[in-house]
Structure formats: structure tokens, C-alpha cells
């Protein structure tokens, strides 16, 4: 399997800065996640041969598609790559079947339409093969685009924001289909997205990008809950990021001093006692109660707070609270939607927040984080 892996190194100063090395094994789905302008799409285009970086190397298994140091640069039509464009880019004058057959140039002419039919069946579109793109819904067009990308029997499958143009219900179904594809086509699959939930749903590895550099690579769960730096934490929209100092390590715990408050966090060996650190907690790891007010501030990780804001979302409740103390830190959390109604909470209510030690993630403080990453 490792022999079929995709390996990419790209470097350039502009117009889109790039400085990264990444790899994706056959059978893996790697999500490239980052804000606009982080270079996600440029990475895909460089792999497909639609963009030429100043310095770069792209290889799949034994084949080298691009190596600027050896002046190797295969044109896109020679690279065995399947690319699903953000807007699908189907050929508007061809039927769904012809769109797929157009990418089957490597097969004898008489076999193309049979194979195109099989691929449309694979993406559950067998009965619509005579339709032109304009007569298909967004989700159907996306499936034709996937079938066309697979038609070439690609060594690598690239998907550029493939779910952005379809509605939420269709998207959920397509996530499942992408997971099926991964089993049916054990090749490296790269998915570009700016949606972290989406990355977690479809990918087993995730690469967090910012301005052409990789901030962190790991499982989506790790990257989202255990960001390597404050910068990474901000990018994954982890709102509760604070400064603290390491007091000591005690068994499975690391004890932190958070502006005079004592915090127990999951043990983090990397930071010695006395070190300035940053810590973060996901909104789902913060508990809120009204019943044990007397225990607040006397036990570690429990603090009394006042609710500042309460927003009802479709399935949950977004709550922000202000803790007591001169620094008045603000914590954000999400709770089940029925919680506020059941407990009668509202802005101004006094509550106790409890921070789960295993949910507290310690990382280098902002200034030191950059040095650690380099």
C-alpha cells in the first residue's frame, strides 16, 4: 500500500505562498482544511498539473509527476489523477454518460460506454445517463463529476470543496457515499474543505493549513481537540484559549495556575513546572450547573460564573459565561437545546461551571508556540 502513496512538496514565495510537505497513503482520505487563501486549492491544482509551483515535487508510487529540480513536469492529461471541481465543471454539451466516457480514453472505443454506464451505476445515477448537466440537480451533477474523476482509473483522487454547492440533506448522503468510495477505490484521496465537521466526517487524516504552511497533521479528532499551537486552536475555532503557568505534575494530572485559580488538566509532560503555557477547552467539555453553587471556587476546575449570553441554535444552545475575578475570563460552551428551558437559565443567572480535566489541552503559549513548531 505504501508504494502507492502520494508525496507532495511545494515551495514558493508568491503569489500564493507555499511551504509544505505532505503525504497520503493509499486508502487514506486526507482533508486539507484552512481559511481562504491558505493554499488548499493550489495544492490540489499543483498535484493535478493545472498549476506549476516555483519549486515542487509530486510523486505517486514510483511515478514522479513533477520535480522542478529535474525539470520534470507532466502535463495534466498524462497524470493519472481524478479531480472533482468545486462547481463540477461538467461538459455542458454532453450527456452524463458522455461526460464519463470522455475520461475513458485509455479504453478501446467500444468498451467506453459500457464502463461509463457501470461508473454511473456506482454513483447511483444509472437511470439518468442520457441527461445533460443542465437537467441534473446539484447533487446529481456532483455524482457525475465523481464518476468522471474515477473513470480514468486514477492513482490519486482529488476533491475541491465537493460538498459546498449542495444542500445540507444531500451533503449528509454524499458523505456516506464518499466513505463507500474509499473502500471501493483504495487510492490516496485528498479533500479540500473549510468545514471542520465535514473534514471529521469524511477524512481519517487532516492537515490544518494557514498561509501555505501546515500547522498540524493528525486525525481530525486530534487536530480539532488537541491543537498544536494557539494559532492552530484559533483556526479550528476553539474559542476558550487562555494563558496559565504550570505548577506541577501530579500522577495523571498537570496542575496549572490560571490567574490565581487552580486547574487540573490531563498530564502534559512537554511543559516543565514554572513554564508559561496556553490551554484550551472545547465548548462541549464545559459543564454547567445551578445546584452545587457552594462548591464553586473551593474545588479545582469549578468556578462560579454569570451567564452573559444564550443563543438557541437548531440542535444546541450556545452559552457564554463570565467567570468571577479581576481578569473576568469569558468561556463559551454548547449545551443540549432543552437545557435552558428545563433549568430556567437566562442571561444574568449565576451558575457553576466545571471544566473536565481530560478536556483541558495544554499547549505552548503564543510566543513560544512559533519556536516549537519551527
Amino acid at each position: 500500500m505504501a508504494d502507492d502513496a502520494l508525496a507532495v512538496t511545494l515551495q514558493q514565495k508568491g503569489p500564493i505562498p507555499l511551504d509544505l510537505t505532505l503525504s497520503c497513503a493509499a486508502g487514506d482520505v486526507l482533508a486539507l482544511v484552512g481559511p481562504s487563501g491558505s493554499g488548499k486549492s493550489t495544492i490540489l491544482r499543483s498535484i493535478a498539473g493545472l498549476y506549476r509551483p516555483e519549486v515542487g515535487r509530486v510523486s505517486v508510487g514510483a511515478a514522479t509527476w513533477l520535480d522542478t529540480s529535474r525539470r520534470i513536469d507532466w502535463p495534466p492529461y498524462r497524470r493519472r489523477v481524478g479531480l472533482v471541481f468545486q462547481n463540477y465543471a461538467l461538459f455542458p454539451h454532453m450527456t452524463a454518460l458522455a461526460n464519463v466516457a470522455a475520461a475513458l480514453g485509455h479504453l478501446p472505443r467500444q468498451e467506453r460506454s459500457r464502463r461509463a454506464g457501470e461508473l454511473l451505476e456506482l454513483v447511483h445515477l444509472a437511470d439518468l445517463h442520457r441527461r445533460r448537466p443542465a437537467e441534473l440537480s446539484g447533487g446529481q451533477q456532483q455524482r457525475v463529476a465523481v464518476a468522471r474523476a474515477l473513470a480514468r482509473d486514477p492513482d490519486v483522487l482529488l476533491l475541491d470543496e465537493p460538498f459546498s454547492a449542495v444542500d445540507r440533506v444531500t451533503r449528509q448522503r454524499l458523505y456516506g457515499e464518499l466513505r463507500e468510495l474509499r473502500r471501493a477505490f483504495p487510492i490516496p484521496i485528498l479533500v479540500v474543505t473549510h468545514d471542520f465537521d465535514e473534514a471529521a466526517r469524511v477524512a481519517n487524516r487532516m492537515c490544518l493549513l494557514d498561509r501555505g504552511r501546515i500547522l498540524q497533521t493528525g486525525t481530525p479528532r486530534d487536530v480539532l481537540a488537541r491543537p498544536a499551537s494557539v494559532q492552530a486552536a484559533r483556526l479550528v475555532d476553539l474559542r476558550n484559549v487562555f494563558d496559565a503557568r504550570v505548577l506541577s505534575h501530579d500522577g495523571p494530572l498537570t496542575i496549572l495556575d490560571w490567574n490565581g485559580r487552580t486547574l487540573q488538566a490531563a498530564r502534559s509532560e512537554a511543559h516543565r513546572a514554572g513554564a508559561k503555557v496556553a490551554w484550551a477547552i472545547a465548548g462541549t467539555q464545559v459543564l454547567l450547573s445551578r445546584t452545587d453553587l457552594d462548591q464553586a471556587d473551593s474545588q479545582p476546575n469549578r468556578f462560579s460564573a454569570t451567564i452573559r449570553d444564550l443563543v438557541h441554535l437548531s440542535e444546541s444552545l450556545a452559552v457564554t459565561v463570565v467567570l468571577e475575578g479581576p481578569d473576568a475570563p469569558v468561556l463559551s460552551m454548547t449545551l443540549p437545546a432543552h437545557y435552558a428551558r428545563r433549568t430556567g437559565l437566562g442571561p444574568g443567572s449565576v451558575v457553576t461551571v466545571a471544566l473536565m480535566p481530560e478536556g483541558i489541552h495544554v499547549m505552548p503559549s503564543e510566543g513560544e508556540g512559533q519556536a516549537d513548531l519551527a
Binding site: 493535478a48 461538459f91 455542458p92
Partner: protein
């Protein structure tokens, strides 16, 4: 009705169209996709025949390929007759004044193809030639055809440059537009009237075709 002049006009139109078909496709496509400094200048130069009086184009053709010029002398030595005041000279003049009519609609049609569609074709394994034949031409053909119809119609009606470069030699350079002028000069309004009416009907028919085509060009694909 001067059938010799009429058939000469048709022949000139068809030859001009045949020469400008590949020119329109390749120059139009190049201008649609290429990015280079000075592109605006190239486009302006190719559009010049739209605004210059045909007599100005004719004048510069006469002084650049006339019998006394090096090009004219080489032509005369090779083919045994002058380039100006010959059918070939007329074709050259006609091709030059029709460049914008053939190129611009083709350029607009190629520009209307979304870049991702060409990129999708390339990553689908289509060679640049296949991309042109199977994707670009089927999507741009209305624009290309529109340019050719415009060229043909414009050639039938061209007067100034034909008079300057071709003169009025029956069967060689006397087109129907010149013949009408000729007949009016000779007070033969009946013949002039028939030819004028024929040109009018033909022009109207081609313009109708052009409007029909243009409603389909410029609609962005993809």
C-alpha cells in the same frame, strides 16, 4: 443583372471565409486564453478595420504591395501578374478588412467557456488537440460560424477597398457592389436596382442568421 460580377462577389466571399476560418479560430482562441503584456494593443490593431475608412486600408495596401514595391515585385516575378488589380489582391484586401469580423465573435465564444471546463478536460486525460476538437469547438461553434457569416455578408457589401485595390476589371475584380456603382454612373438604374435589391435580400437573410446565432453566443458554459 451582371452575373459575372455577382458570381465574383460570391467567390470572393467564399474564399475570404475559407482563409479566415482557421485564422478566426486560432487567433480568437489565442486572444481569449493568452495573458501577455501588449494584448490590448494587438486587439486594437486587429479591430482597426472596423473604424478606418476602407479607402485608408486600400491606400496602405497599394503602397505596401503595389507593383513598385518589393513585395509587389516578388509577387509579379513569381506569378506573372501584379498583386494589386487582381483577384488575389482583392482576397488579400478582403481578408484584412474582415479580420475583426471573423476574430472577435470567435474570441467571445472561446472566452465564454469556463476555464474549469478546459481544465476538467485536461485532467480527464484529453490531449490539448482533443480538448480543442471535443470540448472547445463544440461549445464555441456558434461564435465561429457567426464570424464567418458576418465576414461573408461584409465581403458582399465591401466597396471602398475593392475599388482602391482591385479597380473594376470584369471577371477579375468587378464585384457586384462595384457593378451597381458602374450601372448608376451609366444611368442604367434598372440593372442597378435589381442588383441592389438582390444584395439587400441577401444581407437581410445573413443578418437574420447572425442575430439568431448571437442569441446563443456569449451564454457562459459551465
Amino acid at each position: 443583372m451582371d452575373w459575372v460580377a455577382f458570381s465574383l462577389s460570391i467567390k470572393l466571399g467564399l474564399v475570404t471565409v475559407a482563409v479566415l476560418l482557421p485564422v478566426g479560430v486560432f487567433v480568437g482562441r489565442w486572444l481569449a486564453y493568452a495573458r501577455f503584456s501588449g494584448k490590448g494593443f494587438v486587439e486594437a490593431a486587429l479591430a482597426l478595420p472596423l473604424v478606418l475608412p476602407p479607402t485608408v486600408v486600400g491606400y496602405y495596401l497599394l503602397v505596401s504591395v503595389g507593383g513598385a514595391t518589393p513585395i509587389g515585385q516578388i509577387w509579379a516575378a513569381t506569378f506573372g501578374h501584379n498583386l494589386v488589380f487582381s483577384f488575389e489582391g482583392l482576397v488579400l484586401a478582403s481578408v484584412i478588412v474582415n479580420l475583426p469580423f471573423a476574430i472577435q465573435p470567435a474570441q467571445r465564444a472561446f472566452e465564454a467557456i469556463a476555464p474549469e471546463i478546459r481544465e476538467a478536460a485536461a485532467v480527464s486525460g484529453l490531449s490539448p488537440r482533443s480538448v480543442l476538437m471535443r470540448i472547445e469547438l463544440p461549445l464555441a461553434w456558434q461564435g465561429i460560424l457567426m464570424g464567418l457569416v458576418l465576414t461573408f455578408a461584409h465581403t458582399l457589401g465591401e466597396f471602398g477597398v475593392v475599388l482602391m485595390v482591385g479597380g473594376s476589371i470584369p471577371g477579375e475584380t468587378k464585384t457586384v457592389a462595384i457593378a451597381i456603382y458602374d450601372r448608376v454612373q451609366a444611368f442604367d438604374t434598372a440593372s442597378a436596382g435589381i442588383m441592389a435589391a438582390t444584395l439587400l435580400v441577401m444581407s437581410l437573410a445573413t443578418l437574420g442568421l447572425i442575430y439568431r446565432l448571437s442569441s446563443q453566443v456569449g451564454r457562459r458554459h459551465g
